[in-house]
Structures are given as structure tokens and as C-alpha cells.
Subunit: 295 residues, 2 copies
Amino acid sequence: MKRVAILGPGLLGGSIALALRGSPGVEVGMWARRAEAVEEARKLSVADLVSERLEVVVQDADTVVLCMPVGAMAGVVSKILPFLKPDALVTDVGSVKQPVTQALAPVLQGRALFVGSHPMAGSEKAGLIHARADLFRGATCIVTPEPNETASVAVSRATEFWESLGSRVRLLSPARHDEVCALISHVPHLAAAALVNTVAQQLPSAFDFFGPGFRDTTRVAGGLPQMWTEILSENRGEVLKGLRALISQLEVAAGALENLSTVGEKQSQGCSLSYQKLSAFLSAAKDCRDTLRVG
Amino acid sequence: MKRVAILGPGLLGGSIALALRGSPGVEVGMWARRAEAVEEARKLSVADLVSERLEVVVQDADTVVLCMPVGAMAGVVSKILPFLKPDALVTDVGSVKQPVTQALAPVLQGRALFVGSHPMAGSEKAGLIHARADLFRGATCIVTPEPNETASVAVSRATEFWESLGSRVRLLSPARHDEVCALISHVPHLAAAALVNTVAQQLPSAFDFFGPGFRDTTRVAGGLPQMWTEILSENRGEVLKGLRALISQLEVAAGALENLSTVGEKQSQGCSLSYQKLSAFLSAAKDCRDTLRVG
């Protein structure tokens, strides 16, 4: 019998539990901090065992998955240290990997196997109530070994775990992971929120006229502010770098539009250098986006 | 028999023709500039009459719809002036309304009825080949009379025309229309293109890891650069104003992240003013977006 301990009963923890439910030879334990959360998890029968006592859930576990906010992980790990089996695999589902790895890897060194994970699944809907057994099916999970540090057996066991939930696993160092996610997720999130705030500030009545373009461009702005503030703040170095690059790109477009205004109508638009610059800006984006394999 | 003349065989012109095809008592004529476009429109039987001669299509028309790029409209209108019935309604489908109205209203004054229209339908797929009879069904069409200038009969006839295609009509002045569209469409388009260009510039390999969030946030960047350069450039005053406001919003977020970095780890994040500022930024956007009726 293999035992999996899921610490934290949110969307991700709940979905892992549901995905494992009924797997032959697997027993799932779930820990929740609040008594009401324990009640809810029991009512929904998401795991074989649900408890608010960490030691009950963690002892004898072969795999421990940290599914709480990134900032709470170090505190929980210090509490479970005495109960961990020495060959247990500890991993997590945090969206930012450098701070997590820096906080947990030294503490777990010699006490258990550790490697970080980031299952790229989830949604703007949070909480156990939205958990789904198929949340990870077909999703990419990034596993983040530290070069020359992380034991290869930790990587292979984490890979096996996520593949058993139907995910495709890819490896990145924690630092590269955070750089990638800043660019494809954290900065776009800020851009979506900034677009909504811009309309609200400039002309709220314009919201009455939005169409599918605005709807899609700003969809992620509906995400949980509490969770996203933590993610952005934990990854602030990379997010800032990406945000500065985005602002520079917008300044390129603004510069071209400003020149078009001052050059005025005299020059034919087709010949104007600024017109060509704006067109090149849009063409580069289109060419690049057209190559993405979109679902 | 009512006659509708559609000038320009693109996605919008073609879709209007298909929507009207077979309507009892309506005869549809289509003009295309290029011989190959005339051939294609005839092959697809989109209209009762297809010609590259403007006078053939426009004479006897009760409604004339300009479906070419905004920059080409004035030239076409000057050519059709001699053939217009004095009670013909002339309208257009351009995405920017102040330049169109300023260029066309004075010329058509006393020669025909004119009011601008902006059917908010379309897609990143252009051309007659993507035209659909139901493109306008359920869509909003903004009709843009000039206050104290446009004849009310022009407004009522344009309204009736778009409603006959299944659209909901709303009225805005040309100036207000351009302000609204800058905020909900033109600036978001630039933001989407800038996000793609940022990733391409900073770390192209990050594209390999994009998920549904990035896909949706950047979808509109796949739009036709030629068309969008014209739209942005025609509406450059309002787009610049909105773009500056967007950059200010992004600077607010960047400022908060910068403070978090310099304040450092000593202060608890929960208490930090910058943390609260970032959280308020995201909460404002979420609260606002959650109120939008999204399809």
C-alpha cells in the first residue's frame, strides 16, 4: 500500500485527492488546518483519512504534497519533520519555485527527499468545491530540481507521481521556472488587471460595450487577489524585470502613435516611418503568436 | 423592391450580403475593386449582382454600405456621388468613427443621408471566405450620429437596417465612440501584442510553457496587422490617452513590487504597505471584472 499525504484542502489538493481516489494500492490522507475544512473534506469523501492533526496524516506517508499558500509552507514543514519517513518524497504545488526551494531544501536535507513541482492547472475558481478528478489530465507539470543539488530519485518519483495523474512533466531549474512563469503568467496577469483598472478610471461606461476581445484579454483578472498578491510578491524580481520590458514595448507603440500625431496629415500614412514602425510592432506579435500551438 | 449596395467584399461586406440573401423584397449588389474579388464573390453567389463598376451597383440603391478600409472611403464616396439617389442612406462599417464622419458627412451633405455605423462583430479571420450569414446576429452595432447634425431619419433607417441583420443597436456620438473603442478594444490590442513581443524579446523558450491564461490574454494579437495599424493610427489621439493611462497603471504595480524588494524580508509581508497596495490593485480589477456580464 502506497500512502499519499495531501496537506491543504484547496482546489489543487482536493483535485489531487479526487484524481487518486480509488487507485488500487493507494491510500490518501488529507490534512486541513481549520475544523470546518476537515468537515467539508469528510463530507465530500475526498480522501480515505481527513484530519487536522499533521502527524496522523504524514506518518507512514511515501509522498507528501504541500498544497497550501507558498508563505505557509516552511512553517508546516518544520512541524512535520519529526514524523517524516526518511525516504518520503516531499513536493509542493506552489506557483513560484525559487523561494520555496530556498526555504525547504536545506531544512529537508537528509530528512526526506525534496523537489518542487508546479502543476500548470487551476483556474480563477478556488476551493475544494471546484476540485476535479481530471484537473491535471493533459496539463503540464513543471518539476524543478536544483542543478547539482536535487537527488535524481526525487525527480524520478515526482515525475512518476504527476504522470500517474495524467500530466506531462517537464524539468526546469527553480530560477528558470520563475523567469518563465513571470513572462507567461505573472506579467500577463498584471496586464489584464491594469487594463480593467484603466477603463474603470478613464470611462467606466465603456464597459457596457465590451466584446469577446476584451473579455478574453482580461479574463485572468478575475483570479483571487490574495493568491496573486502572494505569487507576484514572491516572484517580484522576475515580475519586475518582465513588467519593465512590457512597459518598454508599450512605449515603443506610444512613441510611434505620438509621431503620427505630430507629423500630421501632410505625409502620406503609407510612407510614414512611424506608421511602418507600428505595423512592424503588430506584425512581429502576430507572426510570433501564430506559431503557438493553441488549444 | 429594396436595393442594398455593399461596397467591399471582405468579411463584413460578405457577411452582410449573406445575411440579406434570400430576404423577400431585397436585392443585393456588391462592388469589388479587383477582378479576382469579383470572380470569387460571383462564384460564392453572395449577391444578386456583383460588379467592379461602382455606378452599376450604386444606382437605384436605397442603402449603401461602405465596407472597405477607413482610409479608402472618401475616395470611393467621391466617385459614387453622381449616382446616389438623394434619399439613399449611406453608412459604413469602420472601427473608427470621428475621421470617417469628418471626411464623409460634409461631402454627402444634401446629396444623401449619412450616419456612421460600427458593427462590433468580426474576428481575426478576414476575407470573404470567412463571411457568415449569422455574423451580426446578437452582436452590438454602434450607430454614431453627430449631435445636432445628423438627420434623425438617417439614424432610424440605419437602426432598422442593423436590426434586420439581428444586431442590437446603440447610439454614441462619433467622439464618444472612438473614446470607448480605444479603451475596450484598441488599447487591449496593443497590450496583447506588447505581451507577445515581451516574451519574444526576453526569453522565447518561455512560449513552450504557455497555458490557457496566456492564450486568452494574447488572442487578439493574431489580428491583421495592416487593418489594426490603420485603426490605431486613425484613432491615435484616444489610443495614446488610453495607452498612457495603462502605462500609469502598470507603473503603480511596478512601484509596489519595487518597494517590496527594497523593504526586504525584515518587515512581515502582511503588514507591508506595498503588499496592501498590490493587493488593492488586483482586488479593484477583480471586483470590476466580476460585474461584467461575460458570455
